[in-house]
């Protein structure tokens, strides 16, 4: 669930735009270069973007008795890195802000920061750490995408707590008090959804490995030896 239209007062909404815009521009630059150098990755880029489209449209019920939706940005982050994921996230956020009154144009900067930047960065770091630790690939994908999803909503809680500290003055105590309230709504609701997102993302990766593992090797997502092991023909 994104921050609603109009619900970030000045100067917060401008501040989040200021943080997000450079990352988006860098992401667009990186994406253009990648597509020019390796045209064959274009379908995979479309799949990663489409995955965000699907997952962020599914409002799921949670154990807390309210609904929220997963983000789906972890998959793009693992394959293409956080900057390109941010660009894909922007497309979805604009669609939802314009056609669904979900999220908003003034809060777009803040929502891009949480869903397009922090989530993918966390997913990317968890992925790299997990692969270094030689864990099972699908387990690492699960952990990376689940934590990425969850980090998105923790960030949303932080953003709202910064804008609405208890007592209307931004002190550490006021921030923590508000953060507790927003985190109860967003971060707690998101735990089961993050687990499901992780599971579904692992499944998507299984199919990508099955049909097009050479691109993952080329993008340096996976090493050749790991692919062979996953496909069950060690050579």
């Amino acid at each position: 669930m994104h921050i609603m239209e109009g619900f970030l007062p000045t100067p917060w909404w401008q501040a989040w735009f200021a943080v997000s815009i450079p990352v988006i521009l860098y992401g667009i630059y990186k994406m253009n270069r990648l597509v020019k150098e390796k045209r064959e990755i274009l379908p995979l880029l479309a799949v990663a973007g489409a995955f965000i489209f699907v997952l962020s449209s599914l409002k799921l019920p949670s154990v807390t008795g309210s609904c929220s939706h997963p983000t789906g940005t972890g998959v793009a982050a693992i394959i293409f890195g956080p900057a390109i994921s941010a660009v894909l996230g922007v497309i979805v956020l604009i669609y939802q802000a314009i056609f669904l009154a979900h999220g908003g144009l003034t809060t777009l900067g803040a929502n891009v920061f949480s869903m397009g930047i922090v989530g993918p960065v966390v997913a990317y770091m968890v992925y790299k750490a997990g692969m270094k630790a030689n864990l099972n690939f699908y387990l690492v994908v699960f952990l990376a995408t689940a934590f990425g999803d969850w980090a998105t909503y923790v960030t949303t809680s932080v953003q709202l707590a910064l804008a609405y500290p208890a007592g209307n003055v931004l002190t550490f105590a006021g921030f923590m008090s508000s953060f507790g309230k927003f985190a109860t709504i967003f971060a707690v609701t998101q735990v089961p959804l993050a687990i499901m997102e992780g599971a579904v993302s692992a499944l998507l990766f299984k199919y990508v490995v099955n049909v097009k593992s050479d691109i993952l090797v080329e993008m340096k997502v996976l090493e050749d030896a790991v692919v062979r092991k996953l496909r069950g023909n060690p050579a």
């Binding site: 799949v47 965000i52 489209f53 008795g65 144009l105 309230k181 499901m196 599971a199 990508v208």
Partner: protein, 113 residues
């Protein structure tokens, strides 16, 4: 091909589905959006003094239209995923399993004639 991962994912989804069915039939939770609840908390913290600085430029006129657009979003995404995974799968089959790799190149076509 092993179906282990599919079974694990299915189990996870089923656990949450059963939990949801049980919860929704035994409690009167509303299952509203988390963003709506955040709005209430904002009102509580600010004492109801906050007025949004902007309104959405367009809102779906009803819940039906909104679910239409969310459904459309999911359908577009699912279509793209299915199309390209199927494309890669068939491409892989032709190139590797059926040995069409060389035959598809024009040069080799000319040589064979």
């Amino acid at each position: 091909m092993s179906r282990k991962l599919e079974l694990i994912v299915l189990a996870i989804v089923l656990i949450f589905a059963v939990q949801f069915v049980y919860m929704s039939s035994t409690t009167d939770a509303e299952y509203g959006g988390a963003d709506g609840e955040a709005e209430n908390v904002i009102n509580e913290i600010t004492g109801g003094t906050y007025t949004p600085i902007a309104e959405p430029i367009w809102e779906p006129p009803s819940g039906e239209i909104e679910s239409l657009l969310f459904g459309l979003q999911a359908a577009i995404g699912a279509g793209i995923i299915g199309y390209f995974l199927g494309y890669y799968r068939a491409k892989g089959r032709y190139e590797n399993d059926l040995g069409y790799k060389d035959k598809s190149k024009p040069e080799s076509d000319r040589q064979s004639l």
